[in-house]
Amino acid sequence: MLFNSINFAIFLPIVFILYWFATSGNFKRQNILLLVSSYFFYACWDWRFMFLLIFSTLLDYFTGIKIYEAKNKKKKLFWLWLSIGINLGFLGVFKYYNFFAASFADGLSLLGFKANLGSLQVILPVGISFYTFHGLSYVLDLYKNRIKPERNFVDYSVFVSFFPLLVAGPIERATHLLPQILKKREFEYPKAVDGLRQILWGLFKKIVIADNCAEYANTIFNHSADYSGSTLVLGALFFTFQIYCDFSGYSDIALGTARLFGIDLLRNFAFPYFSRDIAEFWRRWHISLSSWFKDYLYIPLGGSKGGMWMKIRNTFIIFIISGFWHGANWTFIIWGFLNALYIMPSIIFNTHRNNLDIVAKGKFLPTIKEFLSISITFGLTVFAWIFFRAANVTHAISYISMIFSSSLISIPSFPGIGLTPPIILLTILFLIIEWLGREQQYAIAHLGLKWNKPLRYAMYYSIIIAIILFGGNKQQFIYFQF
């Protein structure tokens, strides 16, 4: 069930009404309803993988209790590694087996040996990377004594499977989400209205910007040999906006939906394309994953405590693993490696925490220096996205080499699809709204709040009309494949 589908538009109000009216405000009943709804939501994708979700939930539920009850560190470690091993084992089989088998066979063939390990014809269960990381954060927090185990299986299951975040995050922490699940939720009018507004903005980003940009990006990337260097730059730009609006749009819908149920999820995006350096970009892009890697990998590896070399080593490790988390392809690993390279100067010169505030806060325009910093960071990000989007490394290299050819200095040609002028205008309008709303949780959080009702409603109707009129052909959310 896609967030941008009619099915979801029917599903959500039904669950909402039942949640607030049929449970008599009892949070235990609300949790049961949320769990049933979440499993139904997941089963709509592919009911066959329900067993995996339930097994993963059971595993972390029981190992969590065992870790907490273990009398000594050795036993704690045993249960922790059992959970990590099985969780990562599933991830390895479903997500990475074919990659490792093919890479191993390629490696052997370079040495003159032939190997055929076969490939598994498995479908990647949607959301596996997300709920696995969910569960891992829970057992790791238990091991570190940051939390106590949740003994109510229903409540714990809601933490893992809450439908707004089930298939593509944000990757929640038990310390943040579980306390909300365990307490009585009261309906809050401003929160619910704000949730609806965030859903609307998320739908606009996904359906109007991402889905339209996807058509151009797909055409240009899939037929890159047919286009000039300047058009390939456009293709990379289209993908840059596609991936941002696709994923942040999804996150907005997820956060907005959760707020309708009185639950706040972790913020996942904070206007990353207005970042002044790569370190700032990574504090603003897929925040829940970046902070997960920081807390559960970077810091346990020693973080920055072991001197410069350890800092550099750990930075490369988390970026490469982060790339690999996205998918079983060398392109993602190179994408991660590139981002590690980008961030290196700020690590070495210790400037990575220079830009913690919001760019041009309280001002209408950035300074020239800020503008240049934003442009350079954006350019580096666009370049890295080429690897992320390319089918394989060879494709990425040929794409880049064609960009840096004589045809770079030519007028780009748009593929003969869609209605280019309105889409470009809408993308520019979107960027302006994002810039103006960059101090908020999401761009239109405060837009029009002081306007009178008809004007405000007109703005909402305009967004709805834009979604209906200018929506691109429906595309799968990119992050569902991860």
Binding site: I6, V193, I464, G471, G472
Partner: protein, 322 residues
């Protein structure tokens, strides 16, 4: 909570109130488009408004509407004619158009059915779904018949405006029709001759697969036979025509002969006229085609004249005409 639900209702009420009237208006003007949906909407509109009323009608796929000119037929035979060929669709949907024709127009005296290798297949997806957009919510026949194809969801069939989301070009076509701006006829009485030059379609297809086999749809075969019987019962003269097909493309389908034999079998069984032009000299000359399956304008005009001449001769021989 009450306030929240009330506000939601206040916000959505205008949308719910205007949805049906807006859908009606968009559908009304889109159905008057002369060129949207490869001109198919215009043909549906002509059927439903009883404007076909022709003595001779032509059925088939794109190989019908691109190959047979009703105007040449009218000039030559002095009978009214209309080409109802439907782009990209097999007999399953062609038959539906036939039924609608009979319901809203006078019965034709002659039907030329252009058959080809794809006629007795059934495609699963609703190709050129745009042609059905203005009718979907308002026409039960189209609603029921097209639902066996993938393409439209239950919501598209039953909720106003849903099917128009992401269809900006349809809305522009409706606007053009409303303002009568750029609403030019794409097809004349269902026919369109194209000046296209020979393209790479055949080479591209050959580079992908050596040859392929057509799987006949048994339901379509039964429907085809049922249609022959119905024509017989209605005293409509049915003529089967296999229009020219460029010779180099004929080896592409492995079971081509088996399919043509099927038409020969039905022609024999029901004493129908079956004219096969796939071995005709026209099929040997590339300059009359723009790809292996389709004639260009020059080719289609030569072919239509040839077809009329042959029909006249054959019918004369069979005693249908004096």
């Amino acid at each position: 909570m009450r306030k929240f639900l009330l506000r939601i209702l206040v916000f959505t009420l205008p949308i719910l109130i205007v949805a049906y009237p807006i859908d009606y208006l968009i559908s009304k003007y889109l159905s008057e488009s002369n060129n949207y949906g490869i001109g198919e909407i215009k043909i549906w509109k002509d059927i439903y408004s009883g404007k076909i009323n022709s003595d001779l009608v032509i059925y088939g796929s794109s190989r019908a509407w691109l190959h047979i000119s009703p105007k040449i037929i009218e000039d030559s035979l002095q009978i009214s004619s209309y080409n109802l060929g439907m782009d990209g669709h097999n007999f399953w949907l062609q038959y539906f158009r036939h039924k609608e024709l009979l319901q809203f127009n006078k019965k034709p005296k002659y039907i030329i059915l252009s058959v080809d290798i794809f006629t007795l297949q059934k495609r699963t997806e609703l190709y050129n779904y745009q042609q059905f957009l203005p009718f979907l919510l308002w026409n039960k026949d189209i609603n029921q018949y097209t639902s066996s194809y993938t393409g439209f969801s239950t919501y598209d069939y039953n909720i106003p405006l849903i099917r128009y989301s992401h269809e900006l070009e349809a809305l522009i076509a409706a606007l053009e029709s409303f303002t009568n701006y750029h609403n030019t006829n794409l097809r004349i009485k269902g026919y369109m001759g194209t000046e296209k030059k020979w393209n790479n379609d055949l080479d591209n297809a050959k580079s992908k697969v050596d040859a392929y086999e057509i799987k006949l749809d048994s339901a379509s075969v039964n429907l085809f036979e049922q249609f022959i019987n119905e024509c017989h019962d209605e005293r409509i003269n049915l003529i089967l025509v296999y229009s020219p097909e460029f010779i180099d493309g004929q080896s592409f389908v492995k079971n081509r002969q088996e399919i043509i034999s099927k038409y020969e079998y039905f022609a024999r069984k029901y004493n129908l006229l079956f004219l096969d032009y796939s071995k005709d000299e026209l099929s040997m000359q590339k300059q009359y085609f723009y790809n292996a399956e389709h004639l260009n304008k020059n080719g289609s005009e030569i072919f239509t004249n040839k077809l009329i001449k042959d029909i006249k001769a054959q019918m004369h021989n069979k005693g249908y005409i004096q």
